[in-house]
Amino acid sequence: MKRFAALFTAIDQTTKTTAKTKALADYFTQAPDSDKLWCIALFLGRRPKRAVTTTALREWAAERAGIPLWLLEESYPIVGDLAETLALILPPPQQTSDHSLTHWIDVLRALHDAPQDDRKPRILEAWDQLDATERFLFNKLITGGFRIGVSRKLMTRALAQATGQEEATLAHKLMGGWTPESTSFHALIEAENPAADQSRPYPFYLAHQLDDTPDTLGDPADWQAEWKWDGIRGQLILRDNAHHVWSRGEELMTDRFPEFARAIDFLPPGTVLDGEIVAWDGAQPLPFNTLQPRIGRKTVPKKLLREAPVILLAYDLLEHGGHDQRDVPLADRRAALTTLLADLPEDAPIRLPPTLPFDTWNSLTDTRAKAREMRAEGLMLKRCNSPYLSGRKKGDWWKWKLAPLTVDAVMIYAQQGHGRRANLFTDFTFAVWQGNDLVPFAKAYSGLTDAEFEDITRWVRKNTLQRFGPVRQVRPEHVFEIAFEGIQPSTRHKSGIALRFPRMARWRHDKTAQEANTLDDLHALLAAYG
């Protein structure tokens, strides 16, 4: 654990990417294989099965520290991280130890099968052997969420430095459903021909936002335009008579979307499609909030399958006849995809979304203006001769979204953030007028600068009217322009509407609360765009 703690400290202590990469590459050169594998898994967001509840951890830590539980609970939002809060309040350790990272993970895994009564003494014993940083990391192993400023890209680069392999090769190896229990560092990273993982997806290629006008992209003839669909980005993998569905966040979603089981009836094995999973009404996508209940559920009740049936709008072909197509130019991939999907029955859960013909950027601008009618967020622009790259690389794929809808709203509740935003008020509830009442309609926590969050935090501290646990009701005084991508009717909200991806576009210092929009204004937007 000391080596892993030193790695964490080295990464946490610098803001420089090169220094982080070097620290990680050194770790990948020096640590035992099992620790390396766990380190990769943890930084990719995986963790051992949770063996104890956070409720139990809080109680045990408070008891050990000799403070009442409420005091720990009050401290948590100020620290902004539970694992850290527990590490900070515990008394200094009475023993020392230098077990490996894998050892402590094994301790936690063993806990899973241990009798309830054994768990507390084992956790207390662990706490008593670990120093502050090690304790924090140990707690993180339980609570999850290792956000320590190591992106997938950075880790891939460090692995490349340590192993001498290509970054793209490593990025592909890291994809898929492996766990440190199911593989080894050798099999996952070092093996020349990695044990074929039939479910392994390709790293997704991610588009950049187009902030300039499209004429900066050059000749329209070099570009393919498509609608930008609002669903879940996914890969459908058909190999060996089985199918697998992966999300962009690398979650295996096969069971959530049983519709795709039929795909193996129509398409040959050795096919991998990239596209957008959307709820489908037979002719066009249903709004995103129809799809929402499908995301959270591991098994899908029949009713939901009827109400929100999904299809894949397949726009790219990554594997064809068992061969990786990613180096093939987009135009040729598209042609092959068109042929492949040509004979699908009408009710197949896969569709080929259209490309949008255009001669000039001006005519495409007109097309883009119709995106909302098509239930799309805007357009995708892809260079016709581009390969399928991995990760977010600038140049070949652009998302060109519609300008968001906006309303001016009054901030009425504020809550403190977590992690980097601990001790800052960053999570706000906004309201619009209905007569003399303010009706809450959206929560937002992004869009302001750190300096603005600091300003508003000072103001919230002085203008709190009432507290509800961590939530503060504040003087309804400040107006923010709230931007959002879509608006839908909702029975779950008092306002009767639900917004897609609301965020703060601007702090309207120039407006008084009275000048904010009304609920009628929102309903007018609902009528126009819902």
Binding site: E74, G80, D81, L88, I89
Partner: protein, 332 residues
Amino acid sequence: MTEPVLTFTDRGIYCPAGDFHIDPWRPVDRALITHGHADHARPGHGAYLATTGALPVIRHRLGQINAEDIAYGTARTIGGARVSFHPAGHLPGSAQIRVEVGGQVWVASGDYKTTPDGLSEPFEPVRCHAFITECTFGLPVFTWPSQDSVAADINAWWADNAAQGRASLLGAYSLGKAQRLLSVLDAQQGPILTHGAVEATNAILRTQGYALPDTIPVTPDMDAKAHKGALILAPPSALTSAWARRFGPASTGFASGWMRLRGIRRRRAMDRGFVVSDHADWSGLHQAIKATGAEKIFATHGYTEIFARWLKTYGYDAEVVPTEFGGEEEAS
């Protein structure tokens, strides 16, 4: 029921028997000042009283003021009150103010820390009936490492930077923290450069006889990169400004109690955060309160509500007092 010795008004802490205020935040006729930080020593009062150690900096910061100094432990009668100043350990010259009226003793702590820093006059517990305490860091997550271990960390960071050809830019408040850090830096390691705001305070404290190592003030016409392996002490705001770019490749560090929290460390986006505070930590607050023997506790700036609630579970008669203090280290 006896009259309270001190009351809490919209101008600050007030003593009716002596007709004076302590660290008032709006102009008053007579102000007793605990220390020179801007939220405690404000301009515009008719008369100032502060310790001999604190007054030079206060004069420097506030310009022409009608002020008198007083030695630690010397009693003085003001109207119907007897007052004396006692070391608070917060920074050189800082004081707690003891006020006695008709046998009742109240103490206003100002800002304080209980562990000696080698530079400030060490905190002196004062027995009293009521204690007005700050609680900037009044949460159990705030416990400070020893000054020696942080000093070793800072010196090691400096040495490492020097070996890598980087300057070490260390951010610290220009009054108090900067001088405390100066006093623990290993001056053998290389030159120590200072920002104008830090150096102004250094000069005053040196004149008063506080021992500080030699420093080189940063001036507009100097070749900042000529001082190889330098450590530069500057106010935190200067570290992210154009001023800091003159030193070439540099590692940045920040010394504050808030650096105990990783989220705040990350938000500061400095390479290193060193946990050094001139305020009492959780156990320091308890130690101080216990040593006063007071039964009545007023919690002022900081996590007042949480801290007061905790004191009540300990059997204290604790109350929250809203103040407008909140200066050099209150903002995270």
